[in-house]
């Protein structure tokens, strides 16, 4: 056994307090877990857990409220940005964030997300893009890649009949109300570190009252991709990143001067 004596060691990393100590219902290796952890770490580091209200959505993330140690409300499919608006408008000094998947945010929820970003609503959106409808068994999503097989595009997404994927970060960044719109990926340690920085910047946007912030996180769904978690991460790097480029699509000038 290689475990050394921890009595003479210091803790370099431990589980964030804002993450409730229980096993999640997400599949082994699902990047929801990583995204949850990063959001919890940021809330911990910024000291926001006593000031935060999360808005859960519909998808595998419907249960996200089970894992965060803060107040939560649960929205109908696609409506989280509207529900978040209701909460933020009556409690403007609280930190309000939504946690949404691709079907939720950019299929049924297109109206609500565009309106919230357009209004410059001072909320933070964590957008999980894993190119399929995970909870319901792997159907095509607005973000499914051309040619990608899903249970409702069994021969691969035919763009002639089923249209092209939607790049939400690019779309929303055209709105004047949007203040921080970035895309990151969770496929390896280096990118996970960058993702965490982006989530931190998004919450800083809200804390400073600068307007609407969103972090799109390229993610995996190992179960519906029929890949091991490790292979799913490779798929993410090889297939998703080229189509959904990692980058900063809108950054409020004040934010570029912050050094965290």
């Amino acid at each position: 056994m290689a475990i050394a004596d921890i009595k003479n060691m210091e803790v370099v990393y431990e589980r964030p307090k804002t993450l409730i100590n229980k096993i999640t219902s997400y599949c082994p290796g699902c990047t929801h877990g990583i995204a949850h952890r990063l959001v919890a770490e940021v809330i911990d580091e910024m000291g926001l857990s006593d000031k935060t209200i999360g808005v859960a959505s519909v998808g595998c993330s419907a249960f996200s409220y089970e894992y965060f140690n803060c107040d939560f409300v649960a929205a109908p499919h696609g409506r989280a940005p509207a529900m978040a608006t209701g909460v933020k408008r009556v409690l403007p000094d609280r930190i309000v964030f939504t946690y949404q998947g691709d079907g939720d945010m950019i299929s049924i929820g297109t109206g609500e997300i565009v309106a919230a970003a357009g209004r410059g609503e001072n909320i933070t959106v964590i957008f999980i893009n894993n190119a399929n409808y995970g909870m319901t068994g792997g159907q095509m999503a607005p973000t499914t890649l051309p040619g990608m097989k899903t249970t409702s595009s069994p021969h691969g997404r035919d763009v002639e009949k089923m249209g092209y994927p939607i790049r939400a970060s690019e779309l929303l960044s055209t709105l004047d109300g949007a203040s921080y719109i970035v895309r990151r990926s969770l496929h390896n340690a280096k990118n996970i570190r960058k993702a965490k920085k982006a989530i931190r910047m998004a919450f800083e946007t809200q804390v400073r009252g600068l307007g609407f912030s969103m972090v799109e996180l390229l993610s995996t769904c190992p179960t519906n991709l029929h890949l091991s978690p490790v292979d799913a991460m490779n798929w993410l790097e090889e297939k998703m990143v080229p189509y959904y480029p990692i980058g900063d699509y809108k950054v409020h000038p004040v934010l570029s001067e912050i050094n965290i």
């Binding site: 209200i53 107040d71 939560f72 409300v73 509207a82 608006t85 009556v90 109206g111």
Partner: protein, 369 residues
Amino acid sequence: MTREFWKGNEAFAEAAVRAGLQAYFGYPITPQTEALEYMSHRMPELGRPFLQAESELGAINMVYGAACTGARVMTSTSGPGTSLMMEGLSYIAATEVPIVLVDVVRGGPGLGNIVPSQQDYNQMVHGGGHGDYHQIVLAPASVQETVDITYNMFNLAEKYLTIGVVMIDGSIGQMMEPAEMPPMLEIRKDIPDWAVRGGKDRRVKTSIYFAAEDMEKTNLRMMRRWQQIEKNEVRYKEYFMDGAKIAIVGYGSAGRIALSAVRTARSKGIPVGLIRPISLSPFPKQLISEIAEQVDGILVVEMNTGMMLDDVLTAVQGKTHVEFYGRSGGVIPFPGEILKEIERISKEPQKDGRHPRDFWLERMESISV
């Protein structure tokens, strides 16, 4: 307080403001848009949140979010908007948070038109979003009654953790009448224990009950509260019922118009009276059942094709003869039409066993297809 001339839509908006409304989220739709416009300057004037949402879908979900924080919150809309709100209403009901909704009813179904009707009765009283829940539906017949009902609806909704609907015919939203406003209440500072507030102890407001047994417990809990509402919150008004042999049953504008006909009929010696239900949900079943034992006939008058009619028939349980008169699609009946019905029934009621709606449709044949 002085009586002033108020337009129905603005009156209910001001009444809500005085009841301590903390946020208004709405969307333009005729015939209630004046309420949205009124709120757009009145709420900011008082430093309270106002937002025109992206759609009724957005509005009801904003209301849902704010309601979870324990705030007094409302929206207002009309039929095509209430249909869009059904999903949100089901979630709000299952989450057991109070809201107030004002439905200003127009002609339909579909896009219909912008003239008044009572087409939303079934949707509000019997239908709504998916699932086992009931909402309180109160139907005023005047601007003053609208003010009083809206003002008190927040207390009702909070007392029973339910959806409180003020359903007014488009005519009432549009008409101007003298009304007295109630006193301005302060925004309350305490919040209910169940409310999320972004604080130390974690609270979650959700409509998910993953385990069937928990969902059943919720359904039973909601149903027991509904039983209390049925016991305590029935409201109605009776006019000229002393010695009445015919009873008209009509709500809102239909009831008010019928009252004119009843007055004229009484002056001609016809022993007719009016029951005007104010609570449609809970429905005054007990009252109708008792009246059925006293009268020779009941005439239900509505501005639709017979929705409350079915509830009356159920309450009457065959104890007396029931007939129906309705105008729909935005057509408003004149007192004279109802007087003709009263005169016909007092001389020759239709007793051939047909369903009152079928007999009525036949009489409506003069209105061409």
